[in-house]
Symmetry: C2
Subunit: 369 residues, 2 copies
């Protein structure tokens, strides 16, 4: 296996593990910030490290458009290009083709689409997605999958599973030496389709397994129920990855269900929009109530933002459109997310995760301070 994984503690379904790559280890449960264009917006690699970030996710779709994976390969790969020496996971580009690009043709051979930047006609096949990820040199590559929105007709969902399995087999065959490859379970909200997809993926054998095709239109209740039911069925000796989810509450619930890896734009995108996560609930920095607030974003936070700046100053920066606002907000939100992950890892080790989960989910969601 190109990727070593060990479960070091469990409590009910929740797992405390360790992923080993040639670019270092990651303690799981692990949250991976999104760095679409080869940068987690506004943050240096050193700062990411300081937030507790262990793995960065980069988007194949974005980087194939600009600056191009061949260019990154010629410059020594994505690690060197973005100066991040820890593990990198790349998605296959599929999700962005379905969500950002204009889809032109989806066939068993692959997918044809137009770039959202300049309308250029481009193709992605399982083999091409793997070749691009090999050029980027990520530690973990994802197979190309067929990811329909929800709701979709049953026939569309089963076609997606059939195609996803076929593409997974071709991706596995095309994988570069030494690069870990994860399979992606599709099937919408249909348990039997999901199980059938998973079973076929396990036969192919991957370094890890992901739940994909979520956060694509379904309700939170439907997603939670599916994740809680399916996560424990993913192979226990391999990392389990929940793609594109979610809020702090989602993460706690998903860790409880037995998932190990997570990525989501919520902490970084919300930060840029002035939406901050704190121990006293979510907070919108533009709110007039913070205009003269001398206190830190989060009285319980020890990040550099909370140690140095007042809510009043951060609000001022945000309203003035200053670059420093998204920078500091991103730093704080990532610190919040990574501290949450660390807290969950410790709780599982100490056998106190159920209590932690109960307390966390009963906290106020909006700042009442």
């Amino acid at each position: 296996m190109a990727l070593d994984f060990q479960v070091v503690a469990t409590e009910d379904q929740a797992r405390r593990g360790r992923v080993r790559t040639i670019h270092g280890e990651a303690e799981t449960p692990c949250f991976m910030p999104v760095g679409s264009w080869g940068t987690v917006k506004g943050m240096t690699p050193e700062e990411l490290r300081a937030t507790g970030t262990q793995v960065v996710l980069a988007n194949t779709y974005h980087l194939m458009l600009r600056p191009g994976s061949e260019l990154i390969a010629r410059l020594g790969g994505l690690h060197r290009f973005m100066a991040w020496d820890g593990p990198i996971l790349t998605d296959s580009g599929g999700f962005q083709v379905y969500s950002l690009a204009r889809l032109c043709r989806l066939e068993d051979e692959g997918v044809e689409f137009r770039s959202h930047l300049d309308g250029a006609l481009l193709k992605l096949s399982p083999e091409r997605a793997m070749a691009i990820q090999a050029e980027l040199g990520s530690d973990i590559a994802m197979v190309l999958d067929d990811c329909p929105p929800l709701p979709s007709p049953a026939s569309r969902l089963s076609e997606a599973v059939r195609r996803t399995v076929g593409w997974a087999r071709r991706s596995r065959r095309a994988a570069a030496e030494g690069q870990a490859v994860f399979g992606i379970v599709q099937g919408g909200l249909d348990r039997e389709l999901r199980r059938q997809c998973l079973e076929e993926l396990v036969t192919i054998s991957f370094d890890g397994y992901a739940l994909g095709g979520l956060s694509v239109g379904e309700s939170k209740e439907d997603r939670d129920a599916l994740v809680a039911e399916l996560a424990p069925e993913l192979p226990g000796e391999r990392p389990r990855y929940l793609m594109g989810v979610g809020t702090p509450e989602d993460l706690v619930e998903s860790v409880a269900a037995g998932l190990d890896l997570f990525d989501c734009v919520i902490p970084t995108r919300n930060a840029r929009n002035g939406q901050l996560f704190t121990s006293v609930g979510k907070l919108s920095i533009k709110n007039a109530r913070y205009a003269e607030d001398p206190g830190p974003l989060d009285p319980a936070c020890d990040c550099p933002v909370c140690r140095n700046y007042s809510r009043a100053y951060l609000r001022h920066l945000y309203l003035a459109g200053e670059i420093l606002a998204p920078r500091l907000h991103t730093w704080h939100n990532l610190h919040y997310y990574q501290r949450l992950m660390r807290t969950m890892r410790e709780a599982i080790e100490q056998g106190t995760f159920p209590q932690f989960r109960r307390e966390f989910l009963s906290r106020p969601k909006e700042n009442e301070a």
Copy 2:
């Protein structure tokens, strides 16, 4: 005096000095980055410090509009608000009233203008400008001056000098205890008017003297000649400040003329536009020649940007509109400016400034690498 100043070495007209304020010392010649809204765009105070920045300039005009000087005073002053514990110099707001706002009425009493943000009708008088700067709590306050564009009729220039002197007297009287106040020499390109203005300011007695009313439409040649002639006539035992100038070459020439303090938006604004200063000349990062350039911005630079990132990566960030681009570019340009100032300080101490100046001014201006 609210501000201590010592000249520790001289070479021809060039001076190596030290300014002492209650927020610490600054070695001169000293370049002060501009932090209009209480932030040097994209940089934390810690990073500013790491570039070698000793003094930050903040704009009274901007901060009186947003978030308001009263609010900053209630939160403990500008140092605490922006978390910068070194010296701060504030301008009087006058220059921005003439350049950014819509000027409504300019009389001996003061100036009436409309905010460029929301059109609100506002007033600034010498007393009000001092009161705002006292609320901000800067270490060095500037008097309100009358700063006409160039060219202006002789009658307008002499009116400006008469008004500037009257306002300087009122500003001196209105100054807050413990806050240093600098007078501003006006008079356009007319040497006699300039000398008359300076003489009257010296009679009033200030903690330092500034050459104002430059970079307002005159040619570089006219400005250089005026600065070279006038700078040595500013009182030698007080800091001499050249307002709003300039390029690296301008700084070298102005230090040669005997000036001590400088501010300019060039390093920070150019950085945001992808214009970088390097030891091999100026460089526009968007240039296609850097698309696959694995080297640092400046091979002779030891800043964190040059140590960690390639021109190819910085170009990619810039073209992708990533926040990290203006951040890293600003860091590099400020590091370049502050290293230039340090080099000049050392050259004056070692008696090698004329050679340094000759070599520096013979360097290529554009990157030929």
